[in-house]
Symmetry: D2
Subunit: 347 residues, 4 copies
């Protein structure tokens, strides 16, 4: 018996990735799809133009698109809602006893709401208990980070564990799919770079501190790391590439760093969660990689690729990390969170 | 009476930019074009396929392409030679009494060879005297930096003058034209990023130290700055975009930084050199700019554009700088060097 | 004394091209800018983000954006209105005695409204008299064709004049700017082709028949040509490229066709209109051209380029024609129409 | 027991596609890889940089790259040789008793050499007998058409069978991978169209006539169809898109055409060949498709997609056809040919 789930905001780019990842999922079964007013009452195939590779799965073509209200009969919803909508709507679902695995940024930084990368900080799920008690909710909200944060933080975690990260500078080159299907006009980006993405740098400079922090007294104590980010949009379809500079507390050599990446495993690998990559981090030997068009689908888009690991005269090390922004960085992140929740008995 | 000049390596991308910039130049007149064996003896229009916007200038279509040997009758040559060729060939020209304005990297870091950005370190031309004496040359070599170095260093100079730059991290997003016409296969870069450019990071981490250094005892004493660079190729035709992080010795506010950029002028502006931009640095107000496709031709490609100047929690400031890699960053840089040489009596 | 003109729909792509072309125009002076509700009452620089190369002209930055109503004090307006708005609004201007040079498709095919390419059918302006009489207007409307129609028809005209065109098949590869700034999401077109453009094929199959027709009894008698079009969107910023197949009534050789293109001149060239290209058609010798990125700005975007003229075993000849879709194909077309109107005494 | 096969020209784009398709093939097993002088004697992983999605298969990484000589111990070779090399080398293999499934153009139009699309003209394999006899070869050569020809001809076949095709005009928009990895410099194609591909139009205008022809007296009698082609390179990675205009002998309606496409099956489908698509032709309902980035991988790249089927006033019908140029249009075409050869007892 599969767990019945809903997808909130099912017609957009991330919503479609949710559908793609949940189609034939061994534990979850989509029973409700919601979207905005414009789509309510329509069949999904009428409401949504399918944007991503492959065809729209047959099973959901004829499902009715529902309003995004907590009266749907599910135990778990995946939220691809815009942040301003998520702000008020997600708590309504949680109040009604529904578990919310959210990709929205609205609640990420709230004290009692876990911001989770399953390989990095599964122990932060402990906040759920406090959250339910304090807010008097039967359900709860668990969030995953911003897409760019996920790639960065996955690459920092094994190094932080072994050599204690102190300072990070990161410059991103982010794919157009990160802004949604209509987010970036072709006139804006064809043969061009846009050196600004709204609110992205703020997220990258704050979210990793919470994720890499420790739960103490039912709160997260932020990691003591300084991060500076500069975010750019580039004419790439899928895959955020990040140039990372890192200063460490402890001494390390390039081989130590590579070994830390190569040997890294987390809860999803130990639990063998259905969506978990076998290895969360791949180290590329070719000095010209990782490259988004070629490497973005490593482990079906659920692993990140790291390359060009080298010492640095200003920081201690620098490298490049790449990941699929709408799979590992969004829908896949929420699904992996939900699988962790199931495995640890929260759902 | 114009000065007769030669262009060495006249058939490639940078060679063509030289021809474009020297066509109708008020001081210089192309009288010789040289290229590799393959092109020798052909008319220029047979030897070269014209790659850049506009048509091949009429005046040079029928000129014979000569071998790259110092027996041509000119006072000045512009060198767009590959570095390995430049290594041995440029000195032969200098020995014969010819001034060489070189875009090649071969001699840039040699002790007695000036590495010049006219707005930044015109006083380094003083090395020429020593160079001629030591090498017993009647002519001399003057070089301009790597394309990415030029944009970075132009943006560092006014800030270094006023607040003393201590540390710099820079991540580049570089145009395909920087690798020459056939340098980057479309299969390699369409919808993609390549996070590696051979020898580029080394140049960016060393050249600015010489350029921002001081001439003492007929030598350049390098500036005391730590620089770390990460270089990327992006699917943009012309224009290198650079995300720059800077730590300063002295306190400054964002307005100070903007004022320093806005008020910056150098020797080319004071001398009103023909190819000099009116202002070498433009500060963009729009938070989404500078962007290469839109802003690369500011002042005919001879000015750089700076934007997103903001404080930083890890360094002190960060900004974005953009410039035209084959104009300001290559052929235009050499031509401006040559104009400075004329104005200061070296030619 | 310049003629005061208004630009209707001044904030979009074509509106901005109008402003660019009318800035410093010797005969016209922009005195009014209009746009939709959203922009009314704002300064132009607040209402519009400048999309095209170069900066927003200083003169219009502080002009107030007016509602699109015929109470503005001008003799001539250029219309970049969407077709559905143009349908009702342009007649209101004409009724008030204003000459409307329109790029909208709304009225192009109406019997008494001239559809003009000044090099092709200037004599169709004779319809104006009938239009004013019949509609009891003090002003009038003159239209220019669809962007793709203009390139095609300019290349057909000299051949039709000499050898009588009977059949035409044309396949277009159209730039993204043709759909307006936000018309084509980057997710839709990056590394892709869209083999459909709404209503474009219908326009290309009908408009040339009117333009190449003859005025008889105050009406246009359509040309007796069969045209079939297939239209595609491609990832090119500016410039529509068209593969054209043509069957002729009379015998001709390749050289005849080339000569006909090369020697072609029309009213704008004879009158030396300010925006007229010296030659409306350029024949490229290089077998790999015309190419949009390289050739689109020939004669400031007002000439078309033709290449690969060759005999054909199915039709008689085939060639490639390229032109700038928002200059020659839109704003420049309307401005050239207006210049013709002035020269011939209609304004 | 699998059949041992060799891949000639194994390091290039098409060679890599062969390896990808033959890896884990149920009937064939790669036992030899050959390449040019430069690669001889190296391990495959040293000789070749892997260009296509996914990683280089483990099994072939350590295989030695051999010279392209007929002394290898195989029954069948797949040839991805350049045409000029194939001209002399392929016959040497055939002479030694090896079956050559060639993607090269060198021998396609020779009278006694079959030019095969298994769904279209499997009966042309009858030429093999004549070929072996006449040339006194123990082996033989079978070729597949040019990539653009395959898409076109697959879409013509069902229509020709039912309504007899008389005239065809076709304009292609071809992917960069069609020119090999280094074939198209990014400077040539980024944001651009090149309206010329060497020898492509000639192939498209002649090859379909042979393929759609009938074997009579041990020769192919060409089909009586007139074809005109215009070929363009576009900035798309994989997938040739073709706008096709068709005049028929017999009357037909749009529904007839759609039905003919939908119901079309050929020998590969009847034989259930391992590489055969379930359906060779997919009809897209969405008016904006087929699109290369989205639709190129239908049936693992072995089916073509057809869309926008409509009547035409000049011809009778027009449509758009899309296929994967290096899978269905090259390596996959040869592999399917070889599977047909096995099934019909030629190997």
């Amino acid at each position: 018996m599969k767990i019945k789930v809903g997808v909130l905001g099912a017609t957009g780019m991330v919503g479609q990735r949710f559908i793609q990842l949940l189609n034939d999922h061994p534990w979850f079964e989509i029973s409700s799809l919601t979207a905005s007013k414009r789509s309510e009452g329509k069949r999904y195939s009428e409401a949504a133009k399918w944007y991503i590779e492959g065809e729209m799965p047959e099973q959901i073509r004829d499902m009715e698109v529902l309003p995004t209200k907590p009266d749907i009969d599910v135990d778990l919803v995946f939220s691809a809602l815009p942040s301003d909508v998520a702000k008020t709507v997600e708590p309504e679902f949680a109040k009604k006893g529904i578990a919310v695995a959210s990709n929205a940024s609205a609640h990420r930084m709230e004290e009692d709401i876990p911001l989770i990368i399953p390989e990095v900080n599964p122990e932060h799920l402990a906040l759920i208990e406090e959250q339910k008690k304090k807010r008097k909710w039967d359900g709860f909200i668990v969030t995953n980070p911003n897409c760019s944060t996920i790639m960065l933080t996955l690459s920092l975690k094994p190094i932080d564990d072994m050599f204690s990260v102190k300072e990070v500078a990161v410059v991103t080159m982010q794919a157009i799919s990160g802004a949604g299907y209509s987010g970036v006009p072709s006139m804006a980006i064809l043969g061009n770079i846009i050196p600004y993405i709204g609110k992205e740098e703020e997220k990258m400079e704050s979210e990793p501190l919470k994720i890499l922090g420790k739960v103490e007294n039912k709160k997260v104590k932020n990691a003591n790391i300084k991060i500076s980010a500069a975010c750019n949009r580039v004419p790439v379809v899928d895959g955020h590439t990040e140039a990372v500079f890192v200063k460490l507390e402890e001494k390390a050599g390039v081989k130590d760093i590579i070994d830390a990446f190569e040997s890294f495993k987390g809860a999803p690998q130990r639990y063998k969660l259905p969506t978990a990559p076998e290895k969360p981090i791949y180290v590329m030997q070719d000095i010209t990689r990782p490259q988004p068009r070629i490497d973005v689908m490593v482990e079906k888009g659920m692993a990140v690729s790291v390359g060009r690991i080298r010492t640095d005269k200003l920081f201690d090390f620098k490298w490049v990390v790449l990941g699929h922004n709408t799979i590992r960085g969004a829908a896949g992140a929420s699904v992996l969170n939900a699988e962790l929740l199931v495995k640890e008995g929260y759902i």
